[in-house]
Symmetry: C2
Subunit: 366 residues, 2 copies
Amino acid sequence: MKKLNTTPIKDGFRMPGEFEKHSHTYILWPERTDNWRLGAKPAQEAFINVIKAINKYEPVIVGVNDTQYENVLGLVPENVKVIEMSNNDSWIRDCGATFVVNDEGIMRGVDWNFNAWGGLVDGLYFPWDKDDKIASKMCELEGVKRYRLDDFVLEGGSIHSDGEGTIMVTEECLLSEGRNPSLSKEEIEKKLCDYLGASKVLWIPEGIYNDETNGHVDNMCNFVRPGVVVLAWTDDESDPQYERSKKALEYLENEVDAKGRKLEIHKLLIPNPVLITKEESLGVDAVDGTLPRNENDRMAASYVNYYTVNGAIILPIFNDPHDELAIKKLSELYPDRQIETVYAREILLGGGNIHCITQQVPYKHK
Amino acid sequence: MKKLNTTPIKDGFRMPGEFEKHSHTYILWPERTDNWRLGAKPAQEAFINVIKAINKYEPVIVGVNDTQYENVLGLVPENVKVIEMSNNDSWIRDCGATFVVNDEGIMRGVDWNFNAWGGLVDGLYFPWDKDDKIASKMCELEGVKRYRLDDFVLEGGSIHSDGEGTIMVTEECLLSEGRNPSLSKEEIEKKLCDYLGASKVLWIPEGIYNDETNGHVDNMCNFVRPGVVVLAWTDDESDPQYERSKKALEYLENEVDAKGRKLEIHKLLIPNPVLITKEESLGVDAVDGTLPRNENDRMAASYVNYYTVNGAIILPIFNDPHDELAIKKLSELYPDRQIETVYAREILLGGGNIHCITQQVPYKHK
């Protein structure tokens, strides 16, 4: 399909809010044994649970390396499509296409440069060549034209859109040394607006404590709908997360969105600290150049990393006392959606959560 | 997508004639240097010409190994889809799905066991594991249910359907030692009828001389429409092809199709013998277990290996005096279709021709 040299904003395209209607969802299959313990089998079970939960509400396409093709065919529900998509790991939120739409229902893909969350500065594995082709492959599968940015590094998990001109990011991630160090904050803001069809960027200072993505916004804050956000929170002032959430709250309370609205901010308590056990650490292959999974490392657990699908929220839970609070809060915030929970510790152990392993395709493109 | 344990004939499905309307065409990209000379570059150029010719009439999807993904994206027309499909070689007619349809416009795929034209008896390369998954991957891409035959070996190039209950094959191929040696002719005939929704099988004795596929019918004879066939022919009685074509003619003259019709048979003169040159032979990597390409080997050149698309015939030509005769004959036989010629020596040097490298998807399935 055609590669475009213009920009979405010039062509009249915008990134929809995730809460807008989807056509279907993409997922990539986890496999690498230097990130996922025990040959990735426990993670694969968790991914299957996510696939089944989403599949109750919208179609799912699972991208797989050829080596796992037949295995996955036998594991997924019968109406799920399994498509070969060679990958380095399974974070399609980050390496996948960001789809944009126009008022005529035409869809296109934005294909950012992907460098595994920091390239040779602080990237999480090497190489990342296959991941960087995933966005292009999604555009081919969807049969849509593609904007490719060879010179701008971004992951889908580092942005949220309200669909009405507002993009939300963190400074910690977007201004990190491993992504676009030669660009100023203003230049980065312009790229975001040009390629997401937006006019306002909200710059939350930091993300979740110890988040290996340099603080992706999708673990920290999300749009429930235009003008309404949920923010990861803790009341424990001794938790290093406290200052991060407090700074975000103060920033958001003093900002307006692209439409000039003050934001309605809802706090979502994070679970108690999730630490890697010795057994979990020992199940991961030790490989030079891949981030190790050490005993007692604190994982960046947050309920904000839920995924919004047609008619439901796919919510990670951790067998934590705060699970029920998150379910209750999101039930109130989303009165028209079911709350589907998936026990997600095995996904978290790989460095992300349900939002990080999913990518929506807007409905209804031509 | 779902794997079925019934049969197309029980479920009311049939294989359409290739001359019935298509939705689109699949092609696989040639790459292996032990079959295609000079790193497959001359063959790739010929494949691009085939892709461009088909793309004038119907959409084309090109399946590629990941290694060639970006290269192919830059070579094909902008509206052609490039999809990752790991393969051992590029003969999608033979390893791809055979699509069947029912009267309600629903489509399904038949996924035959593929063993590289003879397995460990006289197969053309080893291994063939990736090729054997292509049919399944096409069904996933199309989102259709699949009949898988683990215990029956067949290639799509060894069958033709008239869409009205008649299948055409060669005994040379279907009864070969390397495919289904434990099955009788009657058992094979039943498999064909069950899985292609047919009631009559025409058994032409042999295919084209020196055809490494054990005489695939798609190089020897084709349905122009129900009741009308073209047959590869030579008037040179000293050519080993003469006896083969003569036996086929005698057989077909004395047969009727599934509807009880006598067949109208048109002869299509083959080109003069095409021999591999020394230079061509030297350009191919010598590898144990892959059929060598030796100087002066005669290739199985035949115009019958054309491909029928919506509104056109994609016809291989050889810069041979018989090219014009073939164009003229097919223009008469297909008054409503354009004759698009592609110089196809480089495809022939790999062991097949335009029909062998294409696979149609029927129009308009649900």
